[in-house]
């Protein structure tokens, strides 16, 4: 949808309204059906599991569909330390995911290297060094509520996006 002529759209009567409605519907669909890639690396993975567990229950937001395969995941939660040995795997998984895709960097390790920010020879200092990150959730590990809060923030971000200008991460 890139490169649609904005002027042209405005000229056709009724089209802007149709476009905004379609945009809203699509965004609503996207934001309410975020299937996560089960991808745990360290401590944060346990809190991710706890978020899926009954007390916090991310199924309420429609997230519980298990998608072990990256092909149909919408969101990757980088939950833990990204190491040099893991780097190519993460990039590959990200590229295997279908557009539109979102990344949440959960916990200090995925944001900046966290505990391993200094003196570590094998840790990448933040997931955003290798893949684009949408939401950062600090904490070591963040509480499940913090993850849910991050997901709600991601939903708000998705609702704001215009599908004519969605960035294609290539």
């Amino acid at each position: 949808m890139n490169g649609v002529d904005e002027e042209l759209i405005k000229k056709i009567p009724g089209l802007p309204i149709v476009m905004t409605t379609a945009e809203w519907a699509i965004n609503a669909g996207r934001s309410n059906s975020i299937w996560t890639l089960t991808f745990g690396l360290r401590c944060c993975a346990m809190e991710m599991m706890a978020t899926g567990a009954p007390k916090y229950d991310w199924a309420r937001f429609g997230l519980e569909v298990p998608s072990a395969s990256p092909r149909r995941a919408d969101m990757m939660i980088v939950a833990g330390t990204v190491t040099k040995k893991m780097e190519p795997v993460i990039i590959r998984l990200y590229e295997q995911m279908a557009e539109p895709k979102y990344v949440i960097a959960m916990g200090a390790c995925a944001i900046s290297g966290g505990p391993f920010i200094y003196d570590s020879y094998s840790v990448i200092k933040g997931a955003d060094k290798i893949i684009p990150v949408d939401i950062y959730i600090p904490g070591c590990p963040p509480r499940p509520e913090a993850l849910l809060d991050g997901i709600i923030k991601l939903q708000k971000k998705i609702m704001k996006q215009k599908f004519r200008t969605v960035k294609e991460h290539k």
Binding site: C43, A45, M49, Y118, P141
Partner: protein
């Protein structure tokens, strides 16, 4: 000294093929890569590729003061962080000659046992997912949240507690801790029965696990397997009993053992261990004395030159800390002997000849935590 392909393709026979599991695979509990040589569904050979989460903790600790290393031990094994704290605290206390007050020891025992329960509950839920049952995780996490709330009330952290200080604790138990502990112990045994009815005694699971992945006592000891995985092989070695640290001699409990060392025995041992832990908790709750919670500890931790090795029974087995001190406020060399490291190395031995599904079942029964393997 270089990484090479574990199986050479030319050497494969016509029926064999290679399947790569991981590093991102739903059943590898984090990031473990297992390369299987298969003939149909039968595993012919297996190669473990670890190190995907190697984060150079040992190197970093050489450049940190003794106090600062405590949070890092949490992150080695986030499931039984208290036991890891304890192993490290014990090492430094031994090096410095600090005696911990009795009340603090009781609190330590209570936290450690709660932590063991918490870890086994997570193992139970993860095992349920491994064998394809999606409900056990939900029930186990209900109790796990209760335990986490208790530990959080005491230490302030849900997983990475950073609970211990050299010589005892910073804060005493919160007021409502005993009440919630009493409540928890009151209903927890019934819940364990429910778990067993739901998963462990289920005929589908028993058919899958009995007689599968048999680990003999000799192999287990030879491979340095410790903890519940070793006890499943009818070998009553529990560091809390065989080499008691802290005040574990005071408690009446038994080291749970399995019969044949197959996968199901390892599962059963963990379930029984939760019951034993509740027993210890009950005794600790009744016997806890009043008094100090912190020993007299110098402001700057600067142990004398020398070396020390201490080990504790974590939820997965023997966790040891080896410290070489050169008399400064930073350790010269620190080595963590993690139980999963040895436990994983035996996987190849017990898996060959079984099915793909068994690899998952056996691996789950060893209860691996990958970051402590990789450190």
């Amino acid at each position: 000294m270089t990484t090479k392909a574990p199986f050479e393709l030319e050497k494969l026979s016509n029926d064999e093929y290679i399947l790569n599991m991981g590093p991102q695979h739903p059943s590898t509990h984090g990031v473990l890569r297992i390369i299987l040589k298969l003939d149909g569904e039968v595993v012919k050979d297996l190669y473990c590729d670890v190190g995907y989460i190697h984060s150079s903790v040992e190197k970093m600790c050489e450049n940190k003061k003794y106090e600062m290393i405590m949070p890092y031990t949490d992150r080695l094994d986030y499931l039984s962080a208290v036991n890891y704290n304890w192993g490290y605290a014990l090492a430094v206390e031994k090096l410095m000659g600090i005696t911990v007050p009795e009340r603090a020891e009781y609190i330590r025992v209570m936290l450690a046992e709660l932590n063991r329960i918490m870890s086994h509950l997570l193992w139970y839920s993860a095992y349920g997912m491994d064998v394809g049952a999606l409900t056990p995780i939900m029930y186990a996490f209900r109790e796990r949240e209760e335990v986490i709330d208790m530990i959080e009330g005491m230490t302030g952290g849900r997983l990475t507690h950073n609970a211990f200080r050299f010589g005892g604790f910073r804060n005493d138990l919160p007021k409502d801790f005993m009440d919630s502990l009493k409540k928890f112990i009151g209903h927890f045994n019934d819940k364990i029965d429910e778990y067993e009815a739901l998963l462990i005694n289920n005929i589908i699971l028993t058919a899958r696990t009995i007689g599968v992945g048999v680990l003999s006592k000799e192999t287990a000891i030879n491979y340095g397997v410790t903890g519940p995985s070793l006890r499943g092989s009818n070998c009553a070695i529990d560091l809390r009993k065989t080499a008691p640290y802290s005040i574990y001699e005071k408690f009446d409990f038994k080291a749970c053992v399995g019969k044949n060392g197959d996968t199901w025995d390892r599962l059963k041992v963990r379930m029984d261990e939760m019951r034993e832990s509740t027993k210890i908790l009950k005794q600790a709750m009744e016997g806890i004395p009043a008094g100090d919670i912190m020993a007299k500890v110098p402001k700057i931790i600067k142990p004398a030159p020398g070396e020390v090795y201490t080990k504790v029974e974590s939820a997965r087995g023997e966790f040891g800390v080896y410290i070489v001190s050169d008399g400064t406020d930073k350790p010269y060399r620190i080595k963590f002997r993690s139980p999963s490291f040895s436990n994983l190395s035996v996987l190849k031995e017990i898996t060959i000849g079984s099915k793909i599904a068994d690899v998952v079942a056996i691996m789950g029964s060893l209860d691996l935590v990958i970051p402590e393997i990789d450190r």
